[in-house]
Structures are given as C-alpha cells and as structure tokens.
C-alpha cells in the first residue's frame, strides 16, 4: 500500500461497494412500490394517514417511542408476534409506503404497535390510550407532561380524562390532553394493517413429496 492515491481510491470504493449494494439495490427494488388497488373494493391500500396522525408520528418520533416499541410483525414461525395478537399477518414493505418516518424499532421493552388499532378481539380506543399515556402501566412510564391539569372553568371539558380512584383529580380540576397527546393518540389509532396484500399472505406450504 505504498501508492497513496490507489489506497484512497480503494477506501472510497469500499464505501461505495456496500452503499451501491444495500442502498441502491434496495432502492431499485422498493422506491416505486405503489399502493395496491383492490378492484372489488374500488379503493387502494394502504390508506393515507390523516394530517393529525402525521403530526402524531412526529410526537412519537420526538419522544423516541421506538426505544421500546417496534412496529413490525414477523411471520408466524419466527417469534410469537402473531400468537400475541399483534397482527394476523406479517408486515410487508407496502404497509409503510405512506409513513413519513418509518418506526420499525429495535427493542421490544413494550409490545409491538404495528396493528394497534386493528387488534382482535379488542383494540384500545382513544380513551384507553389517553388513560394509558397519563397513568403508565407496568414497564411503561406515565407521560403526564402530555396532559394539562387545570381548573375547571364553567363546564368540564368534553376532552377531560375519565379517571377513577387515586388518579382522579381533586374536585374543581380536570386533566385535559394537550395537542401533542391528541396527535399521538390519533397516530396510534391510525396503526392498522387490516388489509391482506397478495404478498402478505403466507406462501403455500410445500406439498409433501410422495414417498419414493
């Protein structure tokens, strides 16, 4: 390695090699992945998230929720994702095409959220999620700073949290979600992968070959 320029070229070629392979390669494969048009339903899937949900994703991203929650359901023979009721099919690339900032996540300190709003038999509703965010549960801390504890002026707000027991605010006060909490919950409720794309159906099991 006495030749300086050649060494230099080699170093950049090394970087370019993996960049071209991984980044350009996958880009060529996925960059133009379109929505799937279902002719019987006459609509395309996935649906675009609402504006509020997109704002909520920024809150999710800013709070780094992905430090504990993944958003990817793996196939049935790989982990217990589907047995836990996180989704009834594996996640595919098409699920994410309208997400501005994809949050696959690297850790599962909490449950997966891919299909939070489409969980069966009972998906959480906005009230459940608000209460969960406000109070925390198990390993999940309370995100009380996303809420406002304020004095009731006139009538109680229709957005006030319905809390019971010790968490109930003293008389004359109410806990109201801030704009960030509302956006976040709207985003969480948009997480739904109910539609089965052709590529998300499990491959047909290989037929057992006749015993020879």
């Amino acid at each position: 390695m006495k030749n300086g320029p050649l060494f230099f070229l080699g170093v950049f070629a090394a970087l370019g090699f993996s960049w071209a392979g991984i980044v350009l390669g996958s880009n060529a494969q996925l960059a133009t992945l379109p929505a799937f048009y279902d002719s019987t339903d006459s609509q395309a899937f996935p649906r675009r998230p609402s504006g509020l949900a997109n704002q909520g994703q920024l809150v999710y991203r800013g709070l780094n929720c992905a430090a504990c929650h993944t958003q990817q359901v793996r196939r049935p023979d790989f982990g217990s994702d589907q047995a836990r009721g996180w989704g009834n099919r594996q996640s595919v690339a098409r699920d994410y095409i309208y997400q501005n900032y994809v949050q696959l996540g690297e850790f599962r300190i909490g449950p997966d959220l891919t299909n939070l709003a489409g969980r069966k038999p009972s998906a959480p509703d906005a009230g459940d999620l608000m209460n969960l965010l406000y109070t925390g549960q198990g390993a999940m801390p309370a995100y009380s700073f996303l809420f406002e504890n304020r004095k009731i002026v006139g009538q109680e707000s229709s957005r006030a949290l319905k809390l019971t027991g010790l968490l109930r605010p003293p008389a004359g006060r109410e806990i109201v979600p801030t704009r960030r909490a509302e956006a976040l919950v709207s985003y969480l409720l948009s997480l739904n992968t109910f539609y089965d794309y052709p590529e998300s159906k499990p491959a047909p099991a290989p037929k057992e070959e006749a015993h020879k």
Binding site: F8, I22, G79, R108, M140, S144
Partner: protein, 464 residues
C-alpha cells in the same frame, strides 16, 4: 503499577507534539467531559428500565430521550473527540511532520462540541429523529459536518505531507476512518433526515448507516490506536503483520454489508438479512486477523496495554457474537432484546472505547510532556473499567436471554417479562455506576496532568 509507560522519561516528545498540543488536548478534554455526561445519562436510562417512574415526569428526560442522549453523547461526544484527536496524533507522528493546520483543528473542535450540544438539547426538547446512532435533529447535523471538515484539514495535510512512503496499519485505519465519516454521515443525513426515502427503505438505509458508522468509522478509530501503541510499547513488529492489510480491506469492503442483521424477519426484502448473515461470517476473517496481529498486547507492559488487551478481546468476541446472532435460529431469541444492547456495549464500549482509552493513556504523557499525575487513580480506573464492563455486558446479555425466552412465549405478559429481567437490569445499573465512577477518576487524573502542565508553562512565562 507505578508508571503507565515503560519509558516515562524522556517521553519521546517531538515537534509533532508541540505543534498539535493545544487542539489535541482540547479534543481529548472535551471527549472526557462527554464521557462523564453519557455515563450519567446511561445510569439514568438504566435505572428507568427497572424503575419506570424514575424522572418520568420530566419531559426532557423520559426513557426515550435519555437513551438517545446517552448514545449521542457517547458516540459523537466521547468516541468522536478522542478518536479524532488520537487519529490526528498518530497521523502526525507516523507522517513525521509537525501537525499543520492546528488552528483549524481548534476551531473545528469548538464547533463540533457546540454541534453535539445543540444536538443533545434538540433531542431533549423533542426534536430527536429516533434513528439509532443518528438521533440528533436535522439542524445540528450540518454544523457537525462542517466542524468535522475543519478538523479533517489537519488529517489531509498530515497525509499529503508524510515523509515516509510506507503506510503502517495504524495509518490505514486512521486515514480510512477520518475520510469516510463525512460521506457516511452526509448520505444518512440526506436520505433519512432531509429528504427521507420511501417507506421501509428508511430502515434499510438506517441499518447501512449504523453499521457503516461502526465498521468504517468507530472500529477503525480504535484499531488505529491499538495498531500504533502495541508495537511501540512492546518494541516488536506485530505478529502475522503481513495479514494486516487483508484484515483492513476485509473490514472496509465487507463491513457495511452486515447492517441487515437487525432486520431479520422484518418487512424488508429477505436478501438484505441473508447477505448480512453471509457477510457477518466473512467478516470473521477480519476479527481473526486483528486477533492474530494484536495478541501481542497480551504480553503486558503497563496500563495502556492492559486497556488495549481488554479492548482487543472485547472487539474480537463482539465480532463473533455478531456473526452468531445474525443467524436466524439465534436471532429469533435475541432480536429486540437487551442482548442487542449487550452486544453494542461489548463492541462500542468494551472494544473500541477501551482501545481508545489505552491509546489515550499512552498518548497523553507524550502530548503534554508530563507523566500521568497519579498512578493510583490510573490503576483504579483500570480495575473499575474492567469490572464495570464485564458486569454490564454479562447482566445485559442475561437480561436479554431471559427477555427473549419470555417474548417467544405468547402467554408471558410484559409485566412478567419486566419482573423476570428486573434483577439483571438492577445489576446493569450498578455496572453503569461503577463505570461512571471509574471515568470520574480518569477525568480527575487528566485534569491534574494537564492542569499541572499549564501551571508550569505560566510560571515559566512569568519568570522568564
């Protein structure tokens, strides 16, 4: 252990040192400050894992933030500052010229640290990107890139001015890491933060970035130090040195391909994780060669080599663990668990960071012209680092195995998982405390070493 180096006096101080002293000491000093910051944040994040209510009411320091802050402070604060400082020092020494453009390094160092500060504040107030290793908000990143460019000027000049045509392994690694970082970083910035790519491509680019940042920047920074210090201290040519260039090119060409390990089973094309499995196995040849070359560190020769020997061990073991967990049968148990965290700590802290610490222990006396102020603080730092790291990696790995087993049982609720992992996570917090304490000792030792030098200089200036 009375002295860190075999020949403390005269410390072969050359003109190289005199020219680059101030900026390099600034880089090292700010690195140590960030090491303490990230240590404190790591402790908070670790406590939050087993006691979720800890600091939860503080919007700046919820777990998502502390984790991102800790990682950012560690990588962009500690590893970057100390790694760049030492890489420049090595390039200057091996090039045989006094370090030029020292003022550029000074300005670059100031703005780099400013950039990291802006990034950390940005994360804390909720502008984080939630991309692993790239959590800093978009507005902090151009500043970092520009500051890095200023620091890099000295590297370019040291390279073009080199007197000796022969390139040493330490030089290859230092040059490669210095010059590849801006490319990796700016590609990630553009493709993930400024104009994010489409859908899951973000996860793929992110995987490539995180892996390249590790294999093409952090690992070479650590290896540059190890490849420089070991032959200096032992006074011999490294064993199997002919293989070193193969090891180097293997890391460079193969490293970036292994990033898909974390995407196994995910909604990405299957070839990405398959290639990662294959390349992780090929990369083992790099780790083997590094081990063959650097096993000379085990012969012993003071604290610097002890740190480096630990670093080499952790680095090589980390490589093998990476290859093992890339396999689908093992990944199904370790994916998404604390085991990943243990792996990362093993490689980044146990491997690279320890090599950098060893290099720092060797370099600083030569840079300042004074031996380390306290041999006792040094040996305590060594003991606490070894203890803390082993404890941290073992407890996190155990927590990960328990968590992985539980996650695969659909009946185990998250409350059960939390209860099962809690004892291990508590021990991990203790380990973080030990590491923080050790690093405080290093900081005190550094301050005393450098501070005494300053006082001497001032006295001389007054008397003359």
């Amino acid at each position: 252990m009375t002295s860190a180096q075999p020949q403390t006096s005269p410390l072969d101080e050359t003109a190289v040192e005199a020219a680059g002293r101030d900026p390099l000491v600034l880089l090292v000093g700010s690195a140590l400050a960030w090491l303490l910051v990230s240590g404190a944040l790591a402790l908070v994040a670790s406590i939050q894992l087993h006691t979720p209510a800890f600091m939860a009411g503080c919007s700046l320091l919820n777990y998502g933030h502390t984790r991102a802050l800790q990682e950012t402070a560690f990588i962009y604060g500690w590893v970057a500052n100390v790694g760049l400082g030492l890489a420049l020092w090595i390039l200057g020494r091996l090039g045989g010229h006094p370090l030029r453009a020292a003022n550029w390094v000074m300005v670059g160092a100031v703005f780099w640290n400013l950039g990291v500060t802006v990034g950390l504040v940005g994360i804390a107030v909720g502008d984080a990107t939630s991309l692993p290793r790239l959590e800093m908000p978009g507005y902090a990143q151009p500043l970092l890139l520009a500051a890095y460019g200023a620091i890099g000027v000295a590297g370019v000049l040291a390279w073009t001015d080199r007197r000796r045509p022969v390139l040493f392994a330490a030089q290859w690694y230092a040059v490669a890491s210095l010059f590849l970082f801006p490319w990796i970083f700016s590609v990630a910035q553009v493709m993930l933060v400024w104009v994010p790519v489409h859908g899951v491509l973000q996860a793929i680019v992110e995987g490539w970035f995180a892996q390249s940042l590790w294999t093409l920047w952090m690992a070479p920074l650590g290896l540059a130090g190890a490849y420089y210090v070991i032959p200096k201290v032992t006074g011999r040519v490294l064993p199997a040195y002919d293989l070193a260039s193969l090891g180097f090119w293997c890391l460079l060409f193969i490293g970036g391909w292994t990033g898909g390990r974390h995407l196994i089973g995910g909604p990405v094309p299957a070839w990405i994780s398959t290639i990662a499995i294959v390349t992780s196995a090929i990369l083992l040849s790099h780790y083997l060669i590094v081990f063959l070359n650097l096993r000379a560190a085990y012969r012993g020769g003071g604290a610097a080599l002890a740190f480096i020997a630990f670093g080499v061990t952790a680095y090589v073991v980390g490589g093998f663990v990476d290859a093992a967990t890339a396999m689908r049968v093992i990944a199904v148990r370790t994916q998404f668990t604390f085991f990943d965290e243990a792996q990362q700590q093993l490689a980044v802290y146990g491997g690279v960071s320890m090599m950098l610490l060893g290099t720092l222990y060797y370099a600083l006396p030569r840079l300042t012209g004074r031996p380390w102020a306290s041999a006792r603080l040094l040996s305590w730092h060594l003991v606490l680092s070894f203890l803390g790291l082993v404890l941290l990696v073992v407890t996190l790995a155990a927590a990960g195995v328990v968590q992985g087993g539980d996650l695969n049982h659909a009946q185990a609720s998250f409350a059960t998982i939390a209860a099962d992992t809690r004892p291990w996570l508590r021990s991990a917090s203790a380990a973080q405390g030990i590491l923080l304490l050790g690093n405080c000792l290093l900081a005190v030792n550094f301050a005393r070493t450098v501070g005494c030098g300053r006082i001497r200089v001032v006295k001389e200036a007054l008397t003359s």
